[in-house]
Amino acid sequence: MSGVQGYDAVVVGSGPGGYVAALRLAQLGRRTALVERDRLGGECTNYACIPSKALLHVAKIIDYAERAAKYGLRMRVESIDVDALRKWRDGVVNSLSGGIKYLCDNYGVEVLQGEARLRGGREVEVRSSGGDSKQLRASSVILATGSTPIQLRGIEQDGELVVGSREAMQLRRIPGRLLIIGGGVVGLEAATLYSRLGSEVTIVEMMPQLLPGADQEVARYIERTLKQRGVKIMTNSKLDKLEKRSGAAVATVVTQGGSTTVEADEVLVAVGRRPSSEGLALIGLEMDERGHVKVDAGMRTNVPGVYAVGDLVGPPYLAHKAMKQGKVAAENVAGLRSEFDSLVPSVIYSDPEIAFVGLTEEEARARGQVVVGRFPLSASGRARTMDETEGFVKVIADAADGRILGIHMVGYGVSELAAEAAMSMEFMATLEDVEAVIHPHPTLSEALMEAVEAARKRSVHIFQK
């Protein structure tokens, strides 16, 4: 065992929350260590956000190709070389994980490989896989240990027949029939990906709608669209039993009507995640009943000098939320005043994509009088030129003063409209403010402006009485 090493700050976990915190600390001149037991970049870069989007991009190219005859392109997808696809995917992941290493090296963040264990407030033990351990001492500790998938009781994940999101996004193979338990973000992205790659996909969701918590109109729209594309969707349904029979899985699903069996060559369990907070109670950290570490707006826990960010501190489980919180924590550690008080937009890379920010229509109506504007992408010139006319943009505003309360979108490319939606709300914009912004033609972003005009009953590109 080597001697105790001192730092201004030790960051535990190198996902978007942790690596961003460490880099910001170094930018602010703090001597910083970043501890990671697995790969730099955390869940997001290595197993989640990035590989899923890389694979979905390729899946989209297959879609373009399959529709290309319509445009006079005689083109065929002769085969999919899963090994080559996985290799490209790996290249993308490795280059981004390597990029984080490059940034740490250049900014002077010390990266320590190993499992961190907190021993009292600001002492951290790091145990490498080789077995040797290091003691670190720091004025401040930022915890960014992220989350892990929730396992279904009684359902063993063998990583072969029954898998989690990591295996699904590793693309070990393309199963003939894929059963997805859980119709949330991960389930929808996996359904989009594997159905494009040729799998027969079934989604089983316990709640009455896909994406529980999302705007109902959006959820219904994506359900209908996925069904049209051949994805089977069972809402109000629950996996009751999973048996293995000659290499296949036989699932018993309890629906409202009764009970059915679904056979599958692979089962993806995507029923949510929980915070990786085991052992943290030992140092006296306060947590909520689901195990999230409690923090204030400055990302401070109840233990002085200990901060926490990212999935660990609660929903939404999103990378950009973790990054922002990482910056806030780092700035506070460095003695600046910083608070986490921004709106968090959501983005889902199903096809069509989904993006939203602010209140759902249901939430907004429950709070008071609202006006709602909708613009269908079938009326968008840009969408037509790309043959991507599914979906809509919906804007919800306060009926009294026009303040925008929520923006909900389904459609090709709406992920890139989410930042503008978030900006409008962050600026407390009214409908009139957004209408004043000239949106270039032809772009999908015009649909956001048109929905804003529609809420004022003055979109000229749809007929409104």
């Binding site: 003063d401 026009g402 962050e426 600026f427 407390m428 914009a429 009214t430 009139e432 403010d433 004043a436």
Partner: protein, 59 residues
């Protein structure tokens, strides 16, 4: 283009600029409640109301 007519150093949202111009209100005299002190349309409305109240009292 943007803030032609807006006093230097003053930041205001488009709807606030329009209303201030129509109502003849000097944006330089309003404190903004938006991010970083940006003047919103409700700030201008408030100033408008205050001005009316002020006029009423003067009478």
């Amino acid at each position: 283009a943007v803030p032609a007519g807006t006093p230097a150093g003053v930041r205001a949202m488009p709807a606030a600029r329009r209303l201030a111009k129509e109502a003849g209100i000097d944006l330089g005299k309003i404190r903004g409640s938006g991010p970083g002190g940006v003047i919103t349309v409700s700030d201008v409305k408030k100033a408008q109301e205050e001005r009316q109240v002020g006029k009423g009292e003067a009478r």
